[in-house]
Symmetry: C3
Subunit: 379 residues, 3 copies
């Protein structure tokens, strides 16, 4: 094993976007529903997919099982150990030092950021999901012409809580990015809030989604944007981040924008990161879904033109602690594989490779989120 693998294996990662894990033991149906972006369909087990194969291969050994253990054995052993121990094992194994936790989506009771930090032996920060804030404001009842101020006040309250380092938007799920890029007028927002009150449901009005993105600019914190791959609530072609170009022009010089996941638009995201100072990207979520067998290929596309200061690591783990381990493993192996290959071909010097590894796995995130670095040797 080469020096790049050793360095990446030893690197304490910063996972700049993740979620909590379910605080309960999971039966097969519950577990399977958490390892797919689809549903659990008769005859099509999520175990029979790249991510299922990766769980059996790379997670089973951490539960003291042989590699490629059958699903039944895997789940039995998981229950035997109990969710607390399982969570501890996978978070420890992930080698994650810092976690930035999106607390805005929780179908289940989830592990809190401090609990994740303790399990990982690191520290945790919080990411505020703005759609959740807006929907709370709306649910509490607000006059349409007071919506903008109420949302902004609630968002400011939310981000001023200790430990909040970023905001997030799932605009990709609500409208996609082919939006009018301009900041909407007060009158437009009021009118849209009126429509929302009349129609109900979640925040999905294009004017209000635009308003939310511009409110993020006002808040001044880095903005994480879901892009690309997700569940079937996405219209994939509208989640192509290149549709954000006009908005990125208008907001240049304001907040950092972090493109999450990106697959299959990792090249489009790379382009944006190469031509807009404020744009960064990761291939979180993608890494565990494609598994270590393809993580290197996806990372290679993502890195084709991306400045090395612009790639971050995230697991986007949600629900099951396995994804902290799998994401970290796929990232370490994938990135180390491609860097080592370039070192071996003398396309890249070893010191440069080690620097890139450390930047992508740790330093870039510390820098964007202005987090303290208690590890020696960073930049």
């Amino acid at each position: 094993m080469g020096a790049v693998h050793e360095t990446l294996d030893a690197l304490r990662l910063v996972d700049h976007h993740c979620h909590g894990t379910v605080t309960a033991d999971l039966d097969r149906a519950a577990f399977e529903s958490l390892i797919t972006e689809g549903d659990v369909w008769p005859g099509v087990s999520p175990f029979d997919s790249p991510v299922g194969v990766a769980v059996r291969r790379h997670c089973a050994p951490l539960l003291d099982l042989p590699r490629h253990a059958p699903p039944e054995e895997y789940l039995a052993r998981r229950s035997e150990l109990g969710w607390r121990e399982v969570r501890r094992r996978f978070l420890r194994a992930s080698g994650t030092d810092v976690l930035c936790v999106d607390t805005g989506f929780a179908a289940d009771r989830l592990t809190t950021p401090p609990e994740l930090a303790e399990a990982a032996g690191g520290s945790a920060y919080e990411v505020v999901r703005l759609e959740g804030v807006a929907e709370s404001v709306h649910a509490a009842g607000v006059e349409p012409d007071a919506y903008a101020d109420a949302f902004r006040a609630a968002a400011l309250d939310a981000v001023r809580r200790p430990g909040v380092v970023a905001v997030k938007s799932v605009a990709a799920y609500r409208t996609g990015f082919d939006l009018d890029p301009a900041r909407p007028s007060d009158a437009e927002v009021t009118e849209a809030a009126r429509r929302w009150s009349a129609r109900g449901g979640r925040l999905a009005d294009p004017v209000l989604v635009r308003h939310l993105l511009w409110t993020a600019v006002d808040l001044g914190l880095p903005l994480q944007l879901h892009t690309g791959f997700g569940d079937n609530d996405i219209r994939l072609h509208r989640a192509d981040p290149s549709h954000l170009t006009d908005w990125l022009h208008l907001t240049a010089g304001t907040i950092p924008v972090l493109l999450l996941h990106c697959w299959p638009y990792q090249r489009q995201a790379a382009y944006l990161s190469a031509v807009f100072e404020q744009v960064y990207l990761d291939v979180g979520l993608t890494l565990h879904y494609v598994g270590p067998a393809r993580a290197g290929a996806v990372l290679a596309e993502a890195l084709e033109i991306t400045p090395f200061r612009k790639l971050l690591y995230s697991s986007d783990a949600y629900g099951v602690a396995e994804f902290f381990h799998l994401g970290a493993l796929a990232f370490r192996q994938g990135l180390a594989g491609l860097l080592q290959e370039r070192v071996d071909a003398d396309e890249l010097s070893l010191p440069d490779a080690l620097r890139i590894a450390r930047w992508a796995g740790r330093d870039n995130a510390l820098r964007v989120y202005r987090l303290p670095d208690d590890m020696p040797g960073g930049d």
Copy 2:
């Protein structure tokens, strides 16, 4: 050669989407026109392309010629053997056990499904192309307000014939998929049929294309959809299957939808197959056009997140019997290559690899089309 290659080489394939071959000897111009999605242009022989190289490399030996035989020798020997013998050799060599034959496009007199079955030593079923049915109804003369009923009745007649297992649409060629997803009203269909009568030509009205897709839902059989790559009648970006998302939501719980070809949108198709129960995909047509040299790379992208129950094999052979052999060969080699590589890296167990190979090459199709399996060891 590893166990996965051996298993895939021995596997009797189900080719869930193919066409007949021309029942005549072909001169150079005729042959060349059948091995390109373009035309035959002066100075740009289709032999000087990936598919042409693959024909000379992999088909020449089956005609008792050396590998990489020159086009002239290849075509001379092909004529010498005669089209019946050529057809027999390539279909036998393909190791195809079951063929689902789209009988709806025939510029030439083509081999019929029973003739293909005999040549292959297997069995054949039929796929009804719905645009052909609609155009026959229209050509026969029908009042606009009777079109919907007449089309439905004709489609029902067509699919009730023995051996019909699926319908197909080439909506990708007619309008693309960025259509209103809703079922059109009777009045809309009548009005559109009136426009068609006035304007003539093939079925290309967006309302009638939508109506056709919804009629497929009513028929209840699996629906094959051309997506991605084809001749220059396609607007490629409009053949991206992610544009089908809203329609897939509306039709969830009804019919299986099989995305054909997909390239260069194999990742978009994979996404849909991962989040919609009813969606399946293949990379037929693509496999012989990119050739064995790239089939593995395309399959690797197609399989990044696709559930292993959702990938099918098709050749999409049309016109020349070579494509039955080339498609099968590219599929076997490409899939075996990527699975064996994962087995060798211990990313996948050998039993899992063999199961995935059998599912993709055979069992998934038998299951979707509810075909009998006369081979031992299936699922």
Copy 3:
């Protein structure tokens, strides 16, 4: 090293699309600004990117420095040698025999085509950028109803100068390709010219961009089109060349159309080249930005279905002479690597591989631009 590498290393390339280099010594800021499609941002040096790594690896030795020399040493040595010597070394090293130079974009004083030819030891031709012609006409003052005639006359004058072999459009930057494909009427052009006069600025009116593309058809010379990747003035999704399909149908049988750069739409460009006689493509610009480490992967996608007569070489070098060397090196290594691999796997015969190499690197361009070939052995 195999025979394909040797042949490609020895091949005198035709660079069918490039620009001049800056005729001055460059300080760090100036050099960095020329090796990125973005800007130079604090803390994100363009040297810390794939292209920067490639410059240090592959260009440093030509300045008598060790591989992977640090940026400071690289730039110091570059200044020591002086821009004339640097230009000479990289152009000579590129092994380029013929250069087709786009003279239409010049933020700086640039090397002229004859100067490039002399430095390379080859010959140079000129490519006329039509937007520049239109903007000169506009800047000189023209009545709206005289714009069409004045632009055409100026364009005819421009292309009749000795050595002009092609025209180029940056429509991708101005409107993208999702345009009405039809030739605009005289009245539409006049009205649009009136709007332009009123609004000022560069040519960006959709009607005038269409008119420019149709004027290119009238001129009768090959048309180079920027597609895909560029600076942040691009809306990447609108620079997908598949949006040109309707226009390509309308202009079939007229002029050759050369799709430049293409990334990340190299597969879409390949599709167009496979189904339209008049379409050709290159992956210039991309090659040096992704560097030799990924040039092979990008070329492999570009060649998946592209007829071997349809791929051309360009560097798209601009500003720094390094890009002539890097582009040529990445092309030679990338193409040789993928062809040799296929020869080694017996997927391609060696004579075919050598023919493809020579076509892509040289003969295809000579043919499209009808240039004399003074090298023995061409076609």
